[in-house]
């Protein structure tokens, strides 16, 4: 079927100057395949159903709109956490600023090196999980990432990692247009925690492919930086085997446009997949979109989607979440909740929760709510002497609490709670 004219033009313009990086034969093939898929699918336009609530124009434009750098005197996140820091400046790994990559339990490599190696396990994952995640909904921006990415990290957890790995994405050029692609392979029974922090770029395209083997565990905590004008489109494709655990949490502050897609395939029995997010947005140019697709294709899988958004001064929040339970995926336990707290009448929350179930013995529930601060609770707090602003912040944090509880490590969760508190204190 021919692509619509707008889609055709958008795609042709974007791809006109794209030349594929070269590396090992398998890498070249993966990139060429990805590019061919982008051409066939066409890049998203605002006429696409999947982009109904979020305009992708600035993400598909040839040039990235510039984003002013944001000065902050806040201490770096997770400063007190013993972790391996890997620093990217405008999408280029800065080895001098990064820690030594030797950590017990994991092998960390640079994507650029891996893509040049003739033999590497990465060939079984790079672009492979992404390709699987293109059905039933096309995600052309992820394929474009696979085609273009040159840098990123490749993590192989062979045992329980001694410490978390923190990817720190610094933004130093106001016009930076960055593409990063990370791979994580968790062996049977192994465990690793990946932290991602920082704004990264004026325009950031990031793809993460995660393969968790039997009984493995992958923990992911991400904070999307505070640069007001930055744009980001991120994808996470995860394949979860039997008895394994996948947990991902994202906290988003500011930014003009953020689209976070998370696609999880539960392919082994008794596996657990939780994906959660909290975002706080202030101002009519804030637009945040969480798009999640969880597929249950095994017995007794448990999945949770917990998304909370605090929106004010005309900010817009979007949630598109789906649980697909395939035939035979009996005893699936799927849960999905998306909620927004609108602090004024100008802000907007758009939600599209979906369940599609082909098994007859499952428990799936979903809910979505939009509301204001509970006036009765506010009065109760104030009657106990808590000033109105402080009471409002307390209730706002309480609203976000359920999503933060999805973070397994309490020290990480506390760090994020503190950040939220100071953000709220600044935005009154």
């Amino acid at each position: 079927m021919a692509l619509a004219k707008l889609k055709q033009d958008t795609t042709a313009a974007r791809l006109a100057d794209v030349t594929l990086p070269t590396g090992a034969a398998w890498a070249n093939a993966a990139r060429a395949d990805a590019l061919a898929r982008v051409r066939a699918m066409g890049l998203p336009t605002r006429r696409d159903e999947y982009w109904k609530f979020t305009d992708p124009t600035s993400l598909t434009a040839v040039d990235a709109p510039a984003a002013a750098l944001f000065d902050t005197d806040e201490a770096p996140l997770f400063d007190a956490v013993d972790r391996v820091k890997i620093v990217f400046v405008d999408g280029i790994l800065d080895a001098a600023a990064s820690d030594d990559l030797t950590v017990e339990g994991v092998v960390i490599e640079r994507l650029a090196d891996v893509m040049a190696a003739d033999i590497h396990w990465a060939r079984d994952i790079y672009g492979v999980l992404e390709t699987c995640g293109q059905k039933p909904v096309e995600r052309a921006l992820a394929a474009l990432n696979t085609a273009m990415a040159t840098d990123g990290v490749v993590i192989h957890a062979t045992a329980k990692a001694a410490k978390p790995i923190n990817l720190i994405y610094l933004h130093s050029d106001p016009a930076s247009d960055v593409v990063l692609h990370n791979l994580v392979k968790v062996d049977a029974g192994a465990e690793v925690t990946l932290l991602e922090t920082g704004p990264a770029a004026a325009r950031f395209s990031k793809c993460l492919e995660v393969d968790v083997a039997e009984g493995g565990a992958f923990h992911h905590v991400r904070v999307q930086g505070r640069d007001h004008e930055r744009r980001a489109v991120t994808h996470c494709f995860a394949r979860i085997s039997a008895q394994s655990t996948f947990k991902s949490f994202t906290l988003t502050f500011n930014g003009v446009l953020t689209r976070n897609e998370c696609v999880i395939d539960i392919v082994g029995d008794d596996a657990t997949a939780h994906v959660a997010g909290a975002c706080v947005g202030d101002g009519h140019d804030f637009h945040h979109d969480d798009t999640v697709f969880v597929t249950h294709d095994a017995l007794r899988g448990e999945s949770r989607q917990v998304f909370k958004k605090v929106l004010r001064n005309g900010a817009v929040g979007v949630f598109q979440g789906k649980i697909l339970v395939k035939q035979g995926a009996q005893k699936t336990d799927g849960y999905q909740i998306s909620q927004s707290l609108l602090l004024d009448d100008d802000s907007q929350f758009l939600a599209k929760p979906e369940l599609e179930i082909y098994a007859d013995d499952v428990a799936c529930s979903h809910g979505s709510t939009t509301g204001a601060i509970d006036e009765t609770a506010l009065y109760y707090l104030r009657s106990r002497g808590v000033p109105a602003d402080q009471a409002r912040n307390l209730l706002t944090l309480a609203f976000l609490a359920e999503s933060l509880e999805e973070i397994a490590d309490p020290a990480l969760a506390n760090d994020l709670r503190d950040r939220l508190e100071s953000w709220l204190a600044r935005h009154r």
Binding site: A377, Y379, L381, S383, G385, P387, L394, L397, E402
Partner: protein, 251 residues
């Protein structure tokens, strides 16, 4: 302590007068009770004094130690020493009871120019006071009032009162939803707080709470006014004969 003069209040959203001229004067250390039939304006009086939205004062005044209460925000009234034990304590999911108590205590201390209590000092005090109200560590950890039984909620109100040490305490139907044992426990908590410098206004439908919290003065409220004032015997009269006699007598 608390002085209310000719207080008239109507609802904000409809032109309905609820309080039609209330006069009340409570001296330091005294316990006053207000009784009255449903819809007489008892709860409205407690809400208006504590600063709840939705009411408009059309006339009269209310002062606490000579300071105008009605012009203050709810949190300022609390810092000035006013406390309302709610008839229906509010559930606040996501806010731990302990966090709530400490935030409240420290906010009031700050408003009064005192240093905030350290986490350790606070914990010590709260544990001691919680113990006498039979509030266990689990209840302190749980979100405010969420999943609490009726009795637990009311005990939690009294714990807040004990922690905040107000000088003017208003108890709005604290006995509602309580069994006899729970009522005794709550009453003991209240009695433990009675002191020369602290006054109470106990709002109730029934005399039985007043068996446990002995009032100095009893008022009968009907149709937005205090229609009769007397000693504890007035409560017994209501218990035995209902409100009908008094209403007729006054009319």
């Amino acid at each position: 302590m608390l002085e209310i003069k000719g207080l008239k209040v109507k609802l904000e959203e409809e032109d309905k007068e609820i309080l039609k001229g209330v006069d009340l004067n409570i001296a330091p250390g005294m316990v006053h009770a207000i009784m009255g039939p449903n819809g007489s304006g008892k709860s409205t009086l407690s809400y208006v004094l504590s600063g709840r939205d939705g009411y408009v004062v059309t006339d009269g005044s209310a002062t606490l130690d000579g300071v105008d209460l009605l012009s203050m925000a709810p949190e300022e009234r609390a810092a000035a020493g006013l406390f309302l034990a709610f008839q229906y304590p509010v559930e606040i999911p996501g806010v731990g009871n302990m966090t709530f108590l400490r935030t409240a205590v420290n906010a009031q201390r700050k408003a009064r120019g005192q240093d905030e209590l350290s986490a350790g000092d606070f914990l010590k005090v709260v544990r001691e006071k919680a113990k006498s109200l039979k509030i266990d560590a689990e209840m302190l950890k749980r979100p405010v009032n969420v999943g609490f039984s009726g009795g637990e909620k009311k005990r939690n109100e009294i714990l807040q009162m004990a922690m905040l040490e107000p000088k003017m305490c208003i108890l709005d139907e604290t006995d509602s939803g309580l069994d006899v044992d729970a009522m005794k426990l709550v009453a003991e908590g209240v009695n433990a707080l009675r002191s020369e410098g602290r006054s109470f206004l106990v709002i109730t439908h029934y005399q039985r709470l007043l068996d446990h919290i002995k009032p100095d003065v009893v008022h009968i409220m009907a149709d937005g006014r205090i229609i009769k004032t007397g000693g504890p015997e007035l409560a017994l009269e209501v218990e035995n004969n209902g409100y009908a006699d008094i209403l007729t007598e006054v009319a």
